[in-house]
Amino acid sequence: MTGPARSVSLLGEEPAEPGNGDALDDEVLADLNLDQVIDSVAGDRDERELIRQLLRHPARDLATVSFRHEVFRDLEEPALLEAVRQFTEQLRQVQAHLSQLAKMHSVHQREGWFLDAAISYCDAVRKLADVLAERPVAARGLVALRDYLFDYAGSPGFARLAAEAADRRSELAGITYLIRIKGLRVEVSRYNGEPDYSAEIEKTFERFQQGAVKNYLVRYRTWPGMNHVSAQIAELLARLFADEFAALAGFCRRHQQFMDPVVSQAHREMQFYLAYLDYIRPLRSAGLTFCYPELTTGPKEIFARETFDLALAARLTARGQPVVTNEFQLTGPERVIVVSGPNQGGKTTFARTFGQLHHLARTGCPVPGQAARLHVHDQIFTHFERQEDIADLAGKLEQDLLRIQKALQAATPDSIVIMNEIFTSTTVSDAYFLGQRVLARVIGLDLLCVYVTFIDELAALGPSVVSMASTIVPGNAAERTYKVVRKPADGLAYALAIARKHGVTYDQLKGRLAP
């Protein structure tokens, strides 16, 4: 019993599924901590694979990005969002029920479970159709779904399904029966008002109670509640209550494929929106903003205001800690942001934020920030320091250099390069030499780049380079603001101040290690 033959997708004009762009590379995802974001958004939802795909792939084109923006915008309305959430929750249960059927050995159990699924399904469809009819929706995807559900919920086939399901349920709920267990033999009969014996039994054995003991009271579970014994009992009940069980079997036969394919697709696709909105809700409650960014293929004049690292913000917000936001803006010939300044000042976080924004913008999701204009990139390359691996005998530095070489070979003028404190396992002169070589190549390609370094000199390599720096609380070198602002690299370093903060200077350690 399917509805009118139409195609309805919430993910884009074209028949859906992830974009045709390349998924973001695993290492890049990990470097940007987008893997954490994607893991958290997808969670253990049934459609986690779809959600992962959608978050890993840029949408096929900018039109698809707008299409998804519209859906997100409609779902900003709380009542509609809540209705969609309830719908997907009910449908999830329906699908869980149906997928469990194959594991059920008893035909009567299967039929009971199937009936239950059908009842939930009818309820979910009706509720969603009602809400979409009442509420104003503007997104192309949701308007199409609304029109479809209106026709479908009003069809005679659907009405029959709903009415029959309700009748079967009320009949079965009226049955009470008796089981007698004697050794390995079980008798099943109708219940005829025999008195409650449990109370007497309990009273008889009460005297043996020895105070607090482990509780062995059996907890009956309804799922998976059907064992061989109860299956055989059900078999006999089907004979004792032949009319009720025959009617149930008939219902299951007639409505084998009750789930409408368009409804189930909508259910799948809604989870993408719900998952992302659920993920950012606590952040918005904490006062952070999200925006629908402008995407440009023209001049690389990009900016973002009040933006932040999504993964870090989620973590901090969960702990009730404040999140520091940052801005950036590139105009004219500016392409490269060199970030320097005190350690633990938010440099890495700033670099990640830059990469996250560009990728997320392409998935059609709202991105961290009050407003943003971003460049439509072809690839993102990252290089963050990784843990030393003894299986790698070629040496850490060589590995670093080989990976950077590979990235710089593959990069184009539309690429984005993000590098974080490479070369720290070698000398200052090496780090300066190698950093300079990297930036020369980056500037030559005219691509967008964020380069985090402790070598101040790299921030002064020409008009395409913008210097930004992490900052400290004035007068307290050990306290960071986590703000990264546009300013010249000032040559200050703060290592010993941090050592003092941790109590590991010579004088402090002498005191701490004294017997």
Binding site: G112, T176, Y191, V218, L236, N343, T348, R441, A495, A499
Partner: protein, 503 residues
């Protein structure tokens, strides 16, 4: 009855917390490779060996006690493995009985307890037979004492009395229960009822429709039997509990025996693998901590030996040196040497052999590592901050007679500042009678100690041959004021389009 294979006079405390430095040691020394080999796929072996390996013994005599047990094990591996298998079998069979019959059902607990005791008695008799057959083959105090105890203390009467009691505890009775249909047509709302349905005469002669149907379940159908008991019997809780506890007492002996033997079985597994790879193995000579002693011949990184065939051993004499600084070429084997020192120290102090031609070293109170790490997943800390905060945690735990290994620590800032922090930390540690091994590429750091306390410091260097290749064998040599980053850059050909690299 006690196993006492890890200590002469007490049980090993498997419930004790691991030393606070354990997580660092596991990560930094690649202990997982060693433990995985010891475990040979067995999770229990893995966990047990991890506990023993990390809980260093600091008394040289206690170390030698284990060395002699382990020497016995290596001499007669089959008997030791058999003894372990008996303990494993006893516990596995006991657990399997629990596993099949859910403890949600008191009637099942009762019959499980009886079955368990039967199984355990069989295995105790196996142990006794093993002791009778093989006791003459052992020399070590630990194993000889254990086998004598088994021969003397196992008394069949104890178990016969117990089984007599348990035999009386089985019973069954019929019960009548009402129920309704749940959403999946299984039973719900069970209520025990008095009385019962009887078929009237009209029904028996089939004038009325039948009102009672019945079936019987097979006696072999354990699951159904359990379901029936579950429905029928809610009153067996106390009896089942007491019987189950009796079984627990017997099995606790096997648990301790299994755990203490597990360490030696793990050592045998490791011994097999290292021998197969042709690695030199020796029992080290543990010395009490008076002055720092450390002399090795052909010392190898055990983890690396297990992973690759080609491992270079190092010969180092560092007696009387409180500080060992390792400098030199990237990829020159510095980290490998540092790990080999850490692993050897841990392996020595749990009573194990080491991968070396010879090792003589003073025992340390506790071993610590401070290695360069990936940026922490929490993201809040910068790298230097993270390193210093780790150093601060170590300072909370470390004390006199400890040993600490640093690998490229405090390098997350520029060389001048990194060196200064490193010098301050190391100076304070040395003055607190703590021994330090430090791998550093920072010339400034290393050179500072050469100028100040050359007599207490041993400098090792990962050399680079004149043709630019590296050997991995360290030599005693002063630090050099260069590194090799630019070499590598040129060797790999530089970035695309870089004229400089072509030269």
């Amino acid at each position: 009855m006690k196993a006492h294979l890890l200590h002469a006079d007490q049980d090993f405390d498997f419930a004790a917390d691991l030393p606070p430095s354990s997580a660092d040691l596991i990560a930094d020394l690649e202990l997982d490779t060693v433990l995985t080999t010891m475990a040979a796929g067995d999770k229990f072996l893995y966990q047990t060996c991890a506990k023993v390996l990390l809980a260093s013994v600091t008394d040289p005599a206690a170390i030698r006690y284990r060395q002699s047990v382990l020497a016995d094990c290596i001499a007669v591996p089959d008997v030791v493995r058999l003894m372990y298998d008996i303990a494993v079998a006893a516990l596995t069979e006991k657990r399997r009985i629990w596993g099949l019959l859910s403890s949600q059902y008191p009637a099942s607990i009762l019959s499980s307890a009886i079955n368990q005791l039967e199984v355990l008695i069989v295995r105790l008799r196996d142990l006794r037979r093993l002791a009778d057959d093989h006791v003459a083959k052992f020399r070590s105090e630990g194993l000889v004492t254990l086998l004598h105890t088994l021969q003397r203390d196992l008394d069949d009467d104890y178990f016969e009395v117990l089984s007599d009691h348990l035999r009386q505890l089985r019973f069954a009775d019929g019960e009548l229960i009402s129920a309704q249909l749940d959403r999946d047509n299984s039973g719900i709302n069970f209520v025990l009822r008095a009385g019962g349905p009887r078929r009237g005469w009209k029904e028996r002669v089939r004038i009325e429709p039948r009102s009672v149907y019945s079936f019987a379940i097979s006696p072999r159908d354990e699951a159904s039997g359990q379901a029936l008991q579950d429905l029928a019997n809610r009153g067996l809780n106390l009896v089942a509990n007491a019987a189950a506890q009796a079984a627990d007492h017997v099995s606790s002996f096997f648990t301790m025996l299994q755990a203490e033997l597990a360490f030696y079985v793990g050592c045998l597994n490791l011994h097999d693998q290292l021998t197969a790879r042709g690695q030199p193995l020796t029992f080290p000579d543990p010395l009490s901590w008076t002055s720092p002693q450390f002399t090795c011949e052909d010392l190898r990184d055990t983890s690396l030996s297990l992973r690759t065939g080609q491992v270079v051993g190092n010969d180092v004499t560092a007696d009387g040196k409180a500080l060992v600084i390792i400098t030199g070429a990237n990829s020159g084997g510095k980290s490998t040497f540092l790990r080999s020192v850490g692993l050897a120290q841990l392996m020595m102090q749990c009573g194990m052999f080491v991968t070396a031609g010879a090792l003589r070293a003073s025992v340390c109170q506790q071993l610590f590592t401070h290695f360069i790490r990936e940026e922490d997943a929490e993201m809040v800390s910068g790298r230097l901050d993270e390193e210093l905060s780790r150093m601060s945690r170590i300072a909370d735990q470390i004390g006199p007679h400890c040993l600490i290994l640093f690998n490229e620590s405090f390098a997350a800032t520029n060389e001048r500042e990194g060196s200064e922090i490193g010098r301050q930390v190391v100076r304070a540690l040395l003055e607190a009678d703590i021994r330090v091994f430090f791998v550093s590429h920072q010339f400034d750091f290393a050179d500072g100690f050469r100028r100040e306390i050359a007599d207490l410091t041993l400098f090792l260097r990962a050399p680079r041959e004149p043709d630019g290749t590296r050997t991995f064998k360290l030599v005693a040599a002063q630090p050099l004021p260069t590194s090799y980053g630019q070499d590598i850059y040129h060797r790999i050909g530089g970035w695309p389009g870089d004229q400089l690299a072509a030269s």
